[in-house]
Amino acid sequence: MDKNKVLRILVVLPLYGGSLPVGRFCISALEKMGHLVETFEAPDFYSAYNAIDDLKVTSDRHQYLRNSYLNILSQAVLAKVETFEPDMVLAMAQAPLTHQALKRLRKDNVKTAMWFVEDFRLFTYWQSFAPFYDVFAVIQKEPFFGELKQIGVNNALYLPLAAHPDFHKPGELSPVDIRKYGGDVSFMGAGYPNRRLAFRKLIHHGLKIWGTEWDGDHVLEPYVQLGGKRVSSEECVKIFNSTKINLNLHSSINADELVSGGDFINPRTFELAACGAFQLVDKRTLMPEAFEDGELAHFESLEDLDEKIGYFLAHPEERDQYVERARARVLKDHTYELRMQTLIDFTIERFNDWPSKRNINALFDNNFPEELKNDIVELIEKLGLPSNVTFNDLVSAVRSQQGQLSPLDTAVLFLDEWKRIYNR
């Protein structure tokens, strides 16, 4: 396959949760790579799903209604597949795709990929769903790979998280934002037990804690920002960029061990680096293949962390050296664009028939009227499409636009329908 070929990818977002921003970065990266992306906006359906919880009905009815609603969402994804005819359905963890829908997609020979950006030990539902995806991308290796193999998943791909440099980038903040988001030492993330225990001993550094699930901790409560509300991706970048030392302590449900020494690398590691923000991060077993020594500043224990906070606050020039090296490495090896390319390459390698050949219809063939070329080229540029885009892909991009269309958009869409009706 031509590696530069424009693919049609339907990204199915989850209703909510940590993989939602990851999904949005994937969409942005795929679009930047020139692919045609449609999104199933599951979050738009979340409030109705929540409303079912307020019904106060019997348990069996409640279950039935929730399952029925999720079935509707799955049907909506299938309807979108039918219309958009994607080369791939890329689902993020917790995407609303039922077993039945996944079976349907397989039967219809629509390739499905799941990027499971969760800890397989904590989020164990993968056992039921992974075999129904054609590609199952994960952020951990062994023993997860072995377990996936045992349940018949032969196309597992290690695909660590990443950063999106168009979004995660250094930036100047306004004085108001610096006052609000800035500080010497900050932590952004959920209140897992290991973090709660650790941070109680770090409050003397003027710690600012951002994120959810910190309630009920009287010691830390005064340091939790915005009342423990969910922090948007945009706010995260502001926090990262206006904090001297960003703490990055990977989560663990085990309060006994501060530094769990687990395997996967969290998204914050890549995002902080891409922002050009300094971080103190715990070591992970999968880290050495992602970062060289000297690219990230690590800590081994709570005492070590406490000490290094003091040290790096006093040595800004050393912070800058780490920042520079980490950012260069992420831009080189750990962007969502690179991850998406890896996923595409892997799928090509595993499936000889993918992507299936479409009825390619070159846009500027000999019959194309000269007087229209300039207008069409402008339209292609406006839509962010490659100059060698096919007619069918141009139509898809026009279709995905919102609001009223221009006369040229309409003429392109109209021609497509005309061609379908008269088999041209």
């Binding site: 269309l405 109209f414 021609l415 329908e417 005309w418 009706i421 041209r424």
Partner: protein, 406 residues
């Protein structure tokens, strides 16, 4: 001045059947623009002289290749012109992907009928109800009224076309419609035409049709006795739109299947004698206005689906072959009418054009009348306090969604 755009991208007959809507809009003070396939431009200018006509390429016939050098530049130019006109209302009439595409160019709030909003295609609630009503095809309403009811303040049905009356110029015979199954073969048609001719003073016959039907005209004439053939003129393929209008104007009668020329005759006030079989049903697409007669095949499988094959050896054709039908046409006495054909005559009521059963078999007639009142109340044309309620019809045709989200 207020401006309305009517998008009518289908065929000859449909363009004529848009008349009640166009007249209604004009009466409401709109300058009406009509967007049609370019093949119908001449006809549109004749039928709707006060309208602005925007001819684009929506049909496939006569267009070679993939359309980039033909469809795209022509339509782009038209779309640019349309986008520069500030339309207050846009009536998008056809359930077609091309219509939906075209509606994308306009503010969805202004579009009536079929529209595409942020990529999602949707139907006006009246059209949704119309699609449900069409499941009872024998009781369905006339397409003219279906389109006109998109607008408020429809002009009265009897003001759309003149009451049909003989013009003294002889008989017009339409040779075939677009769907061959809907038309009588020439050997079945010939005795019926001669039978009708025996009742008309002016014995001239004018065969009407396109170039493709010229040969069918010759074959029909071959079935006539020499004296009849001598007074027959085969105009098939000889007329442009203007010529066709001239040929039909002033005729005593037009004998026809369900065709565009039939609607043109109704527009001109020429009485229609329609032979409706196969997928054609008079209450849906019969000639509009008062004074037309339809011989309607009423066998159990009628009306069928146009696109579906016939598994019954076109049994709806058999009664037209029966010599009794010719006898009926000569005498108009119901006792001569063979089984399998019913007679309907057109008239106007509060809703539009209706077809009144005159002879034969019409088991759903009572329900059809009730359904018309139900629709009349729905559209606010008659008072539900006086004519309603209609619980059974409402249960069938109103959906939960209508009640919950209207």
């Amino acid at each position: 001045m207020k401006r309305a755009l009517v998008i009518q991208l289908t065929r000859f007959g449909d363009l004529v059947q848009t008349k009640r809507l166009v007249l209604t809009l004009q009466q409401r003070g709109f300058k009406v623009h009509i967007c049609i396939d370019s093949s119908l431009e001449g006809l549109a200018r004749i039928i709707y002289p006060a309208c602005e006509i925007h001819p684009l390429i929506a049909h496939g016939s006569g267009i070679e290749g993939q359309g980039k050098d033909t469809v795209l530049p022509v339509n782009y130019k038209i779309f640019k012109q349309l986008s520069e006109i500030d339309f207050n209302e846009i009536y998008n009439l056809n359930f077609s992907a091309m219509n939906y595409a075209l509606s994308s160019m306009f503010d969805p709030q202004k579009v009536k009928g079929h529209k595409r909003i942020n990529g999602q295609v949707m139907k006006e609630s009246w059209f949704e109800l119309g699609f449900r009503l069409a499941t009872e095809r024998r009781n369905n309403i006339n397409l003219v009224d279906y389109w006109a009811a998109l607008s408020p303040d429809m002009i009265p049905a009897d003001q759309v076309n003149p009451v049909a009356s003989s013009g003294g110029k002889g008989i017009g015979v339409v040779l075939a419609g677009r769907e061959s199954r809907r038309s009588l073969p020439y050997d079945v048609l010939a005795p019926l035409v001669m039978s009708v001719r025996s009742t008309i003073k002016n014995k001239n016959i004018f065969l009407l049709g396109s170039k493709a039907e010229r040969d069918a005209g010759r074959k029909l004439m071959s079935k006539f006795p020499a004296s009849v053939a001598d007074s027959t003129v085969n105009l098939a393929g000889e007329t442009d739109w203007k010529g066709l209008v001239e040929a039909v104007t002033g005729l005593d009668l037009v004998i026809t299947p369900d065709t565009g020329t039939m609607h043109l005759a109704a527009h001109l006030g020429v009485p229609v004698l329609g032979f409706f079989l196969s997928s054609a049903w008079c209450t849906e697409t019969g000639p509009y206005g008062e004074g037309h007669t339809i011989l309607q095949s009423d066998i159990d499988c009628a009306p069928c689906m146009e696109a579906a094959p016939c598994y019954y050896d076109l049994k709806c054709l058999a009664p037209f072959k029966d010599s009794a039908t010719a006898r009926y046409l000569a005498t108009r006495k119901p006792e001569h009418l063979p089984k399998g054909i019913s007679i309907f005559e057109s008239g106007c009521d509060f809703l539009g054009t209706q077809f009144i059963h005159k002879a034969g078999n019409d088991p759903s007639g009572e329900r059809r009348q009730r359904l018309r009142k139900f629709i009349g109340c729905h559209l606010g044309l008659i008072d539900i306090g006086e004519h309603g309620p209609f619980p059974n019809l409402a249960e069938k045709f109103y959906k939960d969604k209508d009640w919950i989200t209207a």
